[in-house]
């Protein structure tokens, strides 16, 4: 068996990819309670801050955001956070750590598809849980949305870019598993940064001085907070342009890092032996 893993893999095997997604979906549905509980866990922090900020806003506004707008912000955040959440570390990282890469590299299907199919299957299962709850919360808490047409149009690309950014950012971090068996510390740090700077603790606009600047430069806001702010009408036109630009730059960096680490990692993997 020729172990020259540096050959490019067949990305074009669409039929195989679709079948894989279907099969992954079926297996995910079996374990739906597990994934519902995960979705529940991810929902808690945004919910807590939704409650805290809406209580704080009361009848007035905070930083220009009213009670109803906070409700809207956090409900959208729950959904956007779910859509963009990356599981690359579990899937890719584990594959490398437990030496299962061989299995994937032998198939005529890019390993990339495996991640993609589990991402999609997972998100559908999570959304089955999230959507009804968000709807019920919306009925109870009465959100206020002030989205213009421009906001609605800008939301979709912002969301897609956010998903891509978070996915590839998570991917390259997971690929570090080729060198260090446990990148747990980095991931814990990443989680904390996302929590603080991506718009969960507070909409980025409400963060105090230094934190706010950091949030506007670092990629984390652009993984979650930015699309949410766009949809809830918190971003002006100049802000939109700047936002997209920063998103694009970070995405380009993430893609580069992913491609680079993949190539380097495979070389090391086949040299060391899987």
């Amino acid at each position: 068996m020729n172990s020259d893993f540096s050959q490019p893999h067949r990305v074009g095997n669409l039929r195989g990819g679709v079948a894989l997604v279907k099969a992954t979906w079926a297996s995910w549905v079996q374990y739906r309670s597990f994934f519902f509980i995960l979705a529940f866990g991810w929902m808690i922090q945004p919910l807590i801050y939704l409650l805290v900020w809406t209580t704080a806003a009361g009848g007035k506004t905070i930083g220009g955001i009213s009670r109803g707008e906070f409700v809207a912000y956090y409900l959208v955040l729950i959904l956007v956070n779910q859509i963009t959440y990356s599981q690359a570390n579990w899937t890719v990282g584990d594959l490398v750590r437990y030496g299962q890469m061989n299995r994937l590299l032998i198939r005529p299907l890019s390993p990339f598809y495996e991640n993609l199919s589990s991402e999609m299957a997972g998100k559908v299962v999570y959304m089955i849980f999230d959507l009804p709850i968000v709807l019920i919360l919306a009925l109870i808490m009465r959100p206020e949305m002030h989205a213009s047409l421009r906001d609605l149009l800008a939301f979709i690309p912002a969301l897609l870019l956010a998903w891509a950014l978070r996915f590839f950012w998570g991917y390259w971090l997971a690929l570090l598993a080729f060198w260090a068996t446990r990148a747990d510390a980095l991931l814990a740090l990443q989680d904390s940064l996302v929590f603080l700077l991506a718009g969960q603790v507070a909409p980025v606009g409400l963060l105090p001085g230094l934190l706010r600047t950091a949030a506007e430069i670092l990629p984390f806001r652009y993984m979650v907070g930015f699309p949410v702010e766009v949809l809830t009408g918190q971003v002006e036109t100049t802000g939109l342009i700047m936002g997209f630009a920063v998103q694009a730059v970070w995405l380009a960096l993430a893609l580069t890092l992913t491609a680079l680490l993949w190539r380097l990692g495979l070389r090391r993997y086949s040299a060391v032996g899987g």
Binding site: W25, A26, Q30, R32
Partner: protein, 332 residues
């Protein structure tokens, strides 16, 4: 003196499992509504084992062996029937009962993973309230019998499968139980380790009189250790007795293997055989014949006279084939 006997009468266990079907639509449906099925894992099983016996519990996968074992160790409540082990009703789970039995499984470990086995043994010693002098003595005995002195200080995760199995046996015996239940103890072990463990079990049984109920898929285990087997298939007890008699009953024939000499080139083609003798295999000049047990001596003599025999052996049919026949025919 507590009698370490096992008596089982009419033991039954039925439980419900959810039904899972394949396909996209079915999985969507199952999101909303679940269907159930009744499984009769054990049906009306009765047997009785004397103190000090080693008995093999055999049967195909899913036959009900493990379920029976779990009922006898008190882990499951039966849905019908009775049992007494060492004078206790197992599922009442009295501490006095639990201190007298032991369960060792080939596919699950009771050792703590990251620390040396000695530390797990110490915890178990305290759990079973073993007086410290007796603990030391028993441990020394077992370690010597199993030849595992150097293993005691290595973390369990660094041990090989065979070494881990030795630890499991020590864990199961350090409080001197009177009945030991073994579930696939030699699973995945290499041949020489299997031999060593069998020898250990036989010797320990001889020395201490511990009653052993053993399940295994390796016929070699059963043949070497168990003078008596209980065969369970689809939850029912099909056979209880000596393994040899089972073979005789199920497969009342012998296999005669003949290597023909190269005297006449075409000899292997025109072989005339006595009636009732079947050729089961023919490869070049190697013939395998099936002969009824009673007729075997006569037939063998006749073959030696009529055929140019270079080599001849008379064998019992392989026990695996016999067992397989029982499994597939579902009866004895």
């Amino acid at each position: 003196m507590i009698e370490a006997q096992i008596t089982v009468q009419g033991l039954s266990k039925t439980y419900r499992v959810p039904v899972r079907t394949e396909g996209l639509r079915a999985s969507l449906k199952s999101l909303v509504k679940r269907a159930y099925d009744n499984v009769h894992a054990v049906q009306n099983v009765s047997f009785s084992i004397r103190s000090g016996e080693i008995v093999g519990l055999i049967g195909p996968n899913g036959a009900g062996k493990t379920t029976t074992l779990k009922m006898l160790t008190g882990l499951l409540h039966p849905t019908g029937g009775q049992a007494r082990v060492a004078g206790f009703i197992p599922w009442q789970r009295k501490n006095a009962y639990l201190q007298r039995i032991s369960m060792v499984m080939g596919n699950k470990s009771q050792m703590i993973w990251d620390i040396p086995p000695m530390d797990s043994f110490r915890v178990l010693g305290e759990i079973y309230s073993v007086p410290s002098s007796l603990f030391k003595q028993t441990l020394e005995e077992l370690i010597e019998l199993l030849d595992m002195q150097e293993l005691l200080t290595k973390p369990v995760r660094n041990l090989s499968m065979g070494e881990r199995m030795k630890c499991e046996l020590v864990a199961g015996l350090l409080y001197r139980p009177v009945v030991m239940f073994l579930d696939e103890p030699t699973l995945g072990l290499d041949v020489s380790m299997q031999l060593r463990l069998r020898r250990f079990l036989a010797e320990y049984n001889r020395k201490s009189g511990v009653t052993i109920l053993l399940t295994s898929h390796y016929m070699a285990d059963v043949m070497a250790l168990c003078p008596r087997v209980i065969l369970i298939h689809q939850g029912k007890l099909l056979y209880d007795g000596e393994l040899g008699s089972l073979a005789q009953k199920m497969a009342p024939f012998k296999l005669v293997r003949i290597t023909l000499g190269a005297e006449n080139g075409s000899s292997s083609r025109d072989v005339s055989l006595p009636p009732g003798v079947e050729i089961t295999n023919r490869e070049n000049n190697l013939l395998t014949l099936r002969v009824g047990r009673a007729e075997a001596p006569a037939v063998t003599a006749q073959l030696l006279q009529t055929l140019p025999v270079a080599d001849l052996t008379v064998e019992d049919p392989p026990i695996e084939a016999v067992i397989d026949q029982v499994y597939t025919e579902g009866g004895v």
